[in-house]
């Protein structure tokens, strides 16, 4: 029997409704080892962890194939309870703590120590008294292990975010027989010094023989703390390597590297771009969008270019357009074509010539119950007063104008529908996206911002949407900003790509820069790269 590995997952394959998200993936972790699980968004890290924990989402969708061994023995894990019994613990990205309970209560919840009393002798074990003293001792021990110096009797409510993370960890190590702990992006919400302490705590835990699987995007943390790593890309197993035998550059390359599929055929390019001719300029720009905070960026967009904004999820790229549109609190100067935009005034950016296609098509982008015609006309009617007719006492929606315009757009953008009066909720994702674009175009914007233009639409429609954007830019001379988490998409149409990491611009790159450079920029790798 081979018990060299505390966890060994082999040949894990998982499909969601015919869509293969994991393909023959292996993961093996030795006792006392810190092992990184790396990959871009959508590489399959979360799915792999869901498989390991026997989450219902896996088993409700047809299960998976492959084998899992814990401590050298083959196991079937069909519910999270089972995973815990096998000694696998998880530190969540969102804290699962009860604010009104004390630290001790949070650590011992579900595993309270009790002593029998009169009531329990009559009514059974459920009414035994809590052995508070011994629970406190346990909690203290767990807290000391990871070096967290707080009193075990204070309430969790009001503690700094960093502490909550540590309490979660303390809860996991307090469980007897814990062999493996999963840290799911634990440093994402921590400040730098807190993150360092967390890494230190991880080392301490590992030195006690507990293995750690560390899921993170931050390359420098991986280099600093891990012993080995597994890299996934698009659901494929890429490589398992020892950290000391590799470098940040190689890791980045392995994460990103892929054949660039062509989304756009070559077109003649007669545009003249100049650094003097700036259409949009952001200075010292902050956006407070939960989960996508922008923490001070300066960015100039040249007239007539297609600028890409990329980066991993949660780094702040989505905050940039949403802040300009006034949908979330934003600060800083925004100047569009010489006119400054007040992000606190809803609709100001629209009035001054911006068009916006939201990343959240179904909830922000469309009125799903309304017709295509109304969806296309709506914003232009509200902002510019188009599609209205005067009836003396007031202005009414001009159904004729709206209908003709909608039919025009349906033809131009090739929206597949039964008629302009069809409900947009009944359209396919790609066609819905075209309706969103048509709505933005009805404003005749001088700058079009498109957020995640191809999210959730099939490859054929993807190509059409990308071509459409390129056409708008090449033929109509419209400046376009594309915000996308799909690097490949950005690299196929953009003139420049700004990579956002931790709310700041990590680097503004050219589409033909190397995979490694893109990977490093996206991971926010702090060492200076050579040649840039």
């Amino acid at each position: 029997m081979n018990s060299q590995y505390v966890l060994k997952m082999e040949g894990i394959t998982k499909e969601y409704f015919g869509n293969r998200v994991l393909n023959d993936v292996n993961l093996s972790v030795r006792p006392g080892e810190i092992h990184a699980l790396m990959g871009e968004n959508g590489a399959g890290k979360s799915t792999l962890m869901n498989v390991l924990f026997g989450m219902p989402v896996i088993h409700n969708t047809g299960g998976f194939s492959g084998t899992i061994e814990v401590g050298g023995e083959a196991v079937t894990i069909d519910n999270p309870q089972k995973a815990m019994e096998l000694g696998i613990g998880m530190v969540h990205q969102e804290f699962m703590l009860i604010p009104g309970f004390t630290v001790t209560e949070n650590i011992k919840i579900g595993r309270e120590k009790t002593t029998p009393g009169i009531a329990s002798r009559i009514f059974g074990k459920a009414l035994e008294r809590l052995d508070v003293d011994s629970m406190r001792k346990d909690a203290r021990k767990a807290l000391d292990t990871i070096g967290l110096d707080i009193e075990e009797y204070v309430k969790v409510k009001g503690l700094p975010v960093g502490y909550m993370q540590f309490i979660e960890i303390a809860r996991e190590i307090d469980k007897t027989g814990i062999k493996l702990m999963i840290f799911d992006e634990p440093t994402a919400v921590l400040t730098e010094s807190e993150a360092e302490r967390l890494l230190e705590a991880m080392r301490v835990i590992a030195s006690k023989g507990i293995a750690i699987v560390f899921i993170t995007h931050r390359l420098d943390e991986v280099i600093a703390v891990t012993d080995s790593m597994t890299i996934l890309r698009d659901g494929q197993f890429v490589k398992r390597i020892e950290t000391k035998e590799t470098s940040a550059v190689e890791i980045a390359e392995l994460m990103i590297g892929r054949k660039v599929e062509k989304l756009l055929d070559d077109t003649t390019d007669e545009r003249v771009l100049s650094d003097e001719n700036i259409i949009l300029s952001l200075k010292n720009y902050f956006v407070d969008m939960p989960g996508e905070r922008v923490k001070g960026i300066d960015l100039d967009v040249r007239r007539g270019e297609i600028l890409g904004i990329g980066g991993l999820a949660g780094q702040g790229k989505l905050g940039i357009p949403n802040g300009i549109m006034g949908l979330f609190d934003a600060e800083g100067t925004i100047v569009l074509d010489g006119v400054s935009i007040d992000p606190k005034k809803l609709g100001d950016a629209l009035k001054k010539g911006m068009g916006f296609v939201s990343e959240d098509r179904r909830s922000v982008g469309l009125l799903l119950e309304e017709s295509i015609e109304h969806n296309i006309a709506f914003t232009a009617m509200q902002i510019k007063g188009s599609f209205l007719k005067n009836i003396g006492v007031g202005k009414l929606y001009d159904a004729k104008k709206g209908r003709t315009h909608a039919e025009d757009m349906i033809r131009q953008l090739d929206i597949r529908c039964t008629s302009a009066s069809q409900q947009v909720g009944a359209l396919s994702g790609g066609n819905q996206q075209k309706v969103c674009l048509a709505r933005a175009l009805a404003l005749h914007p001088i700058l079009l911002v498109v957020s995640e233009p191809t999210r959730g639409i099939d490859i054929g429609a993807k190509k059409l949407v990308i071509e459409l954007l390129a056409n708008l830019n090449r033929r109509e001379g419209m400046t376009v900003i594309v915000v996308s988490s799909e690097l490949n998409e950005l690299r196929s149409i953009c003139d420049r790509i700004a990579i956002i990491s931790e709310g700041k611009i990590a680097s503004v790159m050219k589409p033909n820069d190397s995979d490694a450079d893109f990977g490093l920029a996206m991971a926010g790798y702090k060492e200076r790269r050579k040649g840039s």
């Binding site: 009035k351 959240d360 709506f378 509200q382 902002i383 007063g385 009414l396 929606y397």
Partner: protein, 360 residues
């Protein structure tokens, strides 16, 4: 043909088909028992117009996103107050009955707009539980005004209690001001003669349809469209530069004003102002009517108002004598009314979709 039929079935909707069948059934029953159909139909028409505008008040409320306005009683008390002032100052003596009703409507609308805006501000602070809050606002408004009906220093003999000489009576006769004014304007007997015939309250119905048309036009305007979008999808509306809270306040104010106009129309058709607790449950009947007509808690159209009010009042008017004939010696009328109106509200609420349940 089959597609067309199933399409028509879908647009009409199962509940309306059931209720309409039930309506036909009771009409047949009334004919069978020889209950005097012409007079009954006349009564249906009258109540259609009486309740129509109160039901219409639900449309802006539902469209702007606050849901069915159970608190329409706020508008109702504004309407009552406006009417009382008109009687108190005896407006009809120098402006005539038409002048009196116009002044009553203008005054009430003014009050209702102010009160409605404040009510809108309140509803903006309780997003997500508007229906519960509006129900209690409605109840409280009635209770609150009960205090004022007793204490306001009215001096008109029409208003005050005859013996005590102060405080408003429970029912106030409108004969000297604008009682049955709209009903009689252009009204005629379509069939039969006085007291047993089918009387058409032309003015009342025209006024009801005129109000429907005005609201319809408003819904087609830029502001109306913005308001509907704010109700249907607040984030979408925000992304198009619309101040959602303002739109909700506007919708609430319009709904409250329509409630005020509605109660004046109702009172003139009835011939009396009903004070104190009489309008307490009126909100429920209005919500039930618009829901019968096919509205949901998220979407309501004018057609829902017209169809819903007709079916709801039609069944009440015709079913009750039939039921009393069927089950002799019982008084089923009020029980039926309560079962129908509350049953329909429950049905509609089970169909209500909001927030997460809209996701697929």
């Amino acid at each position: 043909m089959r597609d067309k039929l199933s399409g028509a079935f879908k647009t009409i909707g199962l509940p309306r088909i059931i209720i309409f069948s039930f309506f036909l059934l009771v009409v047949f029953g009334a004919y069978h028992y020889d209950l005097g159909l012409p007079a009954l139909f006349g009564s249906v028409l009258r109540r259609w117009g009486m309740f129509g505008i109160l039901v219409l008040a639900m449309v802006p409320a539902i469209q702007c996103g606050i849901g069915p306005n159970f608190g329409v009683s706020l508008g109702i008390v504004c309407g009552l107050l406006g009417s009382l002032l008109v009687i108190e100052f005896n407006v009809s003596s120098f402006l005539g009955p038409w002048g009196a009703i116009t002044v009553a409507i203008l005054l009430s609308t003014l009050f209702a707009t102010l009160v409605g805006s404040g009510y809108g501000l309140l509803l903006n602070r309780v997003k997500g539980s508007e229906m519960t809050v509006s129900t209690y606002v409605g109840f409280s408004a009635i209770a609150f005004m009960n205090i004022w009906w007793v204490t306001l220093p009215f001096t008109s003999g029409e208003i005050n209690w005859p013996i005590a000489g102060e405080g408003a009576r429970t029912t106030i006769n409108l004969a000297s001001s604008f009682g049955e004014l709209l009903n009689k304007a252009g009204g005629f007997y379509l069939y039969g003669e006085e007291s047993t015939g089918l009387y058409v309250p032309t003015g009342l119905l025209l006024f009801f349809f005129l109000m429907c048309y005005i609201v319809y036009l408003f819904m087609k305007s830029k502001t109306g469209k913005a308001m509907s979008a704010a109700g249907a999808n607040p984030v979408f509306a925000r992304a198009s530069g619309i101040n959602v809270d303002k739109m909700r306040i506007l919708g609430t104010a319009i709904s409250t004003s329509l409630g005020a106009i509605g109660i004046i129309t109702y009172a003139q058709a009835f011939g009396f102002l009903q004070m104190y607790n009489a309008p307490l449950m009126m909100g429920f009947a209005c919500v039930a009517a618009v829901l019968i007509g096919g509205a949901s808690t998220m979407q309501a159209r004018i057609s829902h108002v017209i169809v819903g009010t007709f079916l709801f009042q039609g069944i009440l008017v015709i079913a009750l004598p039939v039921a009393n004939k069927l089950f002799v010696g019982t008084d089923l009328s009020d029980i039926m009314r309560i079962i129908i109106s509350n049953g329909i509200i429950i049905y509609a609420l089970t169909k209500a979709k909001g927030g997460a349940s809209n996701e697929e």
